[in-house]
């Protein structure tokens, strides 16, 4: 009993550390990819590890009071919490204790903590940035939840672990309506990752990096960690829903194989987002809102009705 608990805690800690490392690595590789598209050399792939280490060891740290500090505390803890409630490469972690709705709402904890800190910094740019982030959230969530509901109705479960398990024989992406749904969800993923054309909340040229304008030192370092883990969380969520969490093997070494296939899949979708990012300029916020609530929502609704029709017949 106690040993089981210790093993479980060790596994969860391991995944938390791995998630952070993978996220930072992806960010570094991402910078390299973007640089190559721009025909630059770019920083080394481990640059983000150096950046975080540097920021966390700064001697000068500026705070604006205890509400400001909530940003640091809740951004890291909230995103780690979300990571552990997602099945990773077929390993369920804590995902049996919650479901997709829980993950949707858990994702709000770090953002809300971050938003509180940004608000308490007293800089108007931060307020505007958070406003943009929240409007983006409202925008991409509508098509995203519609596709999510399509999946839930088809597999008759709301738990992500359940959805992943139901896809053991066939990934959702190979069922026609979900091909459409996954295209919609991938665009929502673009918004979630805040890559162009949807990097409106952090637009550096307009509102001076928005919410994080007042953050420096350990605060900025922790936000970088938050960003790194959120890349892993968001892509994993997507892969869990449409690619069965990357599960391809069920044999002896299935654990390692599935882990690698999950890693490859989330890397593919992160890279895809980056390539779209390099090719597009930034939307204005109302354009992004219209894009998601008009075209994306129509496509998502078609897939939902299609699935509903498949289920009831």
């Amino acid at each position: 009993m106690v040993i089981d608990l210790i093993i479980k805690i060790a596994i969860l800690t391991g995944y938390a550390i791995a998630g952070t490392a993978i996220g930072l690595l992806f960010m570094g590789i991402g910078r390299k990819i973007v640089a190559r598209v721009h025909n630059r050399v770019g920083p080394p792939f481990y640059q983000n590890f150096i950046d975080v280490a540097k920021l966390l060891s700064k001697k000068t740290n500026i705070s604006h009071g205890w509400i400001f500090d909530l940003a640091l505390l809740f951004s890291i803890s909230g995103i780690l919490l979300t990571l552990l409630f997602l099945p990773i490469g077929g390993v369920k972690l804590l995902s049996m204790d919650g479901d997709a709705f829980l993950v949707l709402y858990l994702l709000a904890i770090p953002s809300l903590g971050f938003a509180l800190g940004a608000g308490a910094s007293g800089n108007p740019n931060a307020g505007i940035g958070v406003m943009r982030a929240l409007v983006m959230l409202l925008s991409y969530e509508l098509p995203f939840v519609i596709t999510l509901i399509a999946l839930m109705i088809y597999y008759d479960t709301t738990s992500i672990a359940g959805i992943v398990e139901s896809q053991h024989s066939q990934w959702a992406i190979f069922i026609p309506p979900f091909l459409l749904a996954s295209a919609v969800a991938d665009m929502a993923l673009q918004g979630m990752l805040m890559e162009q054309p949807f990097d409106i909340p952090i637009a550096p040229h307009e509102i001076a990096s928005g919410p994080m304008v007042e953050f420096g030192g350990k605060y900025l370092g922790s936000l970088m960690i938050y960003k790194a883990i959120s890349i892993v969380v968001e892509t994993t969520f997507f892969v869990d829903l449409f690619f069965g969490g990357g599960v391809i093997a069920h044999g002896k070494f299935s654990g390692i194989v599935n882990f690698i296939s999950w890693l490859v899949l989330i890397f593919i979708f992160f890279t895809l987002a980056l390539l779209i990012n390099t090719a597009f300029p930034r939307f204005r916020i109302e354009q992004a809102f219209k894009f998601y609530w008009k075209y994306e929502t129509i496509l998502a609704t078609i897939s939902l009705i299609w699935v509903y029709w498949m289920v009831i017949t």
Binding site: I67, Y105, I109, A115, T158, G162, K290
Partner: protein, 608 residues
């Protein structure tokens, strides 16, 4: 003993008319504990044993040939516990909120007394009597502020509600020849269905369900905060109590489903509830007046309860009751917090507020907790309620209701942040204010307690609800103290909480690793770059906060619902004006009318 409680309540209403404001508040506080004591005594039917005075569970009062039947049921107990635990806290709040006694306390006590009556009523006449008494006392409380619009709109909608309810009661009476709930047998025929729909619409007025909500934003923004907290938190639940009574305790929902084979009014109620949640949420974040924002948020959150009642499955109803329970507390706290902020700053406009949290940290923390519950963040009990409703919608495969409800949940983040940033954070606009008075803080703290308890133990809340539901023949959903299980998934509250605490450790280590220095608000990114003549400029970007969405969405919300009511009013006015012309004032015309009437009657007789 019950008669003594009722007599004491009535006596207190009289006394509070004549005493000073401090004494009135104290009397009102202690008297309002009486219904709560009665409920705790009756908790024995729930299996708890707190106190036992042996207060009788039922009583009949005979007044000049009419008998009022009063009795407690598990369902009224559940609704009672949320309404009556709000009241003493609100009295505590008013203790420092008012500086004179001008009729607030007696009418608040009357509202309390009538809601006690509504919950205990076991026949339709008693229910209606107390319902009218409640509407009337709240009307006086709104009238105190001398706002013409709010007074008239509340009067009109209360009358509408009363008409719809009495119409339903009469129809049911003509069917069953009895007013007692226990003697009503519903049969699926047209009269019964019309009666049930009429009753539900009547109760929906008080529950501020769209499109019958138009009175709520006006009344909530034009009345005193302590009363609004009770109106939004407590009295609005009575509307849902009424709906629940006629839909599930008397199986009206089943009858409607039997009568309508395809789309039943239950489904329409769920759709209206979801649309209400969605539209009110969108309108809420466009508001600049914090009371209006909270009013629309209230309409939205109450919409979820309607969705639960409309879906009508065991999961959905449990979720609806849970949502009602949460809403009673968090909305009361938010209105009180808004009242406390206004008490110190004298401002209601979000764009003029800002920076209140730095000077009122306790108010802020309490408001933050209730906002978390409102936004259904998983570390609060708000999540369990919404989660049950989402599960129910997915299980019933309501593909229209589910996404709308979910996106309304996301929209709640937007207006939550509008309150947090606009009122409490941002630029430091109020460097000279003080923390709210102690009695206000105590009131808000008491109300925030249930939210803290039920986040860790959602099972206890479900225990309470399942006993209320078993009365209506609805089984409870499988749960333990910490976890809720449905056929689709399960939710473990304690796992979320423990993991969050564990995940706070690395965050805390990073936080403690290096020291930090706390600086002033002027010491920011713009450091030294503010030209001296702009030095006192407000650094608070809360004006027109959600302008981009507003620009896109506003055309779809024009004209508002109230314009349609005004259209109906204009149509009626034109119609009446035309009809009025019949009365010309000339005797010849009237003679012609008589002649035409007689000819018609003769023609009819000949035709027969």
């Amino acid at each position: 003993m019950l008669d003594i409680i009722i007599a004491e309540l009535l006596l207190a209403i009289l006394i509070t008319f004549f005493v000073g404001k401090k004494l009135a508040a104290i009397i009102a506080f202690f008297i309002s504990l009486l219904p709560l004591v009665a409920l705790l005594d009756w908790a024995s039917m729930y299996g708890f044993k707190f106190i036992s005075f042996g207060i009788e569970k039922s009583m009949n009062i005979a007044i000049s040939g009419i008998t009022l039947h009063l009795a407690i049921t598990p369902l009224s107990w559940f609704f009672g516990i949320m309404i009556f635990s709000l009241f003493p806290a609100i009295m505590l709040f008013s203790y420092s909120f008012y500086d004179k006694n001008d009729g607030f306390y007696p009418f608040m006590l009357l509202a309390l007394f009538s809601s006690f009556g509504i919950l205990l009523a076991r026949d339709m006449l008693t229910l209606f009597l107390f319902w009218e008494m409640m509407s009337w006392s709240s009307f006086i409380l709104i009238y105190r502020n001398k706002d013409k619009e709010a007074t008239i709109i509340y009067l009109v909608f209360s009358t509408l509600s009363a008409f719809l309810i009495i119409f339903g009661i009469l129809l049911l009476y003509s069917q069953n020849n009895s007013l007692l709930f226990s003697e009503i047998n519903l049969t699926p025929n047209l009269e019964t269905v019309v009666a049930i729909i009429s009753m539900i619409s009547g109760f929906a007025v008080k529950a501020a369900l769209m499109p019958l909500h138009v009175w709520a934003p006006v009344v909530y923004s034009k009345s005193d905060e302590p009363f609004v907290a009770f109106l939004a938190g407590g009295l609005s639940k009575l509307g849902y109590y009424g709906m629940f009574l006629f839909m599930f305790s008397l199986p009206g929902a089943k009858i409607m489903e039997e009568y309508f084979s395809h789309i039943s009014p239950n489904y329409i109620l769920a759709v209206i509830g979801a649309l209400s949640a969605f539209i009110a949420t969108i309108i809420a974040f466009m508001q600049d007046d914090i009371r209006k924002l909270l009013a629309y948020s209230s309409i939205g959150q109450l919409g979820y309860i309607a969705v639960g009642l409309g879906i009508g499955s065991q999961l959905a109803i449990t979720g609806a009751l849970f949502q009602a329970f949460n809403h009673a507390f968090f909305k009361a706290v938010l209105f009180l917090a808004a009242g406390a902020v206004a008490y110190r700053t004298g401002k209601w406009k979000i764009s003029e507020l800002g920076g209140v949290a730095y000077k009122m940290p306790i108010t802020f923390t309490i408001a933050l907790l209730s906002i978390f519950t409102l936004a259904a963040i998983p570390i609060t009990s708000g999540f369990a309620a919404k989660w049950l409703l989402y599960e129910a919608a997915i299980k019933a495969k309501y593909i229209f209701v589910a996404p709308i409800m979910l996106i309304a949940g996301v929209g709640a983040f937007l207006y939550s942040f509008r309150i947090l940033y606009g009122v409490f954070l941002g630029g430091n606009n109020h460097p000279d204010i003080k923390e709210a008075p102690k009695s206000m803080l105590a009131a808000m703290f008491v109300l925030v307690l249930p939210m803290i308890i039920f986040v860790i133990f959602p099972g206890y809340a479900l225990d309470m609800m399942s006993r209320a539901l078993s009365d209506a023949g609805i089984a409870s959903i499988p749960h333990t103290v910490f976890t809720i299980k449905t056929s689709l998934a399960s939710y473990n509250a304690i796992a979320v909480l423990i993991t969050l605490i564990a995940a706070l450790i690395p965050a805390f280590l990073i936080y403690k690793s290096k020291p930090h220095r706390i600086v002033d608000f002027k010491d920011n990114y713009l450091a030294g770059e503010i030209p001296s003549k702009y030095e006192n400029i407000s650094m608070h970007a809360a004006h027109n906060f959600y302008k981009p969405v507003e620009d896109v969405m506003k055309p779809y919300f024009e004209p508002g619902t109230i314009e349609y009511y005004k259209g109906i009013y204009k149509g009626l006015a034109i119609l009446s004006n035309t009809l009025r012309k019949v009365y010309t004032g000339f005797t010849q015309d009237y003679a012609i009318y008589v002649a035409i009437f007689l000819l018609t009657v003769m023609g009819w007789l000949i035709w027969l």
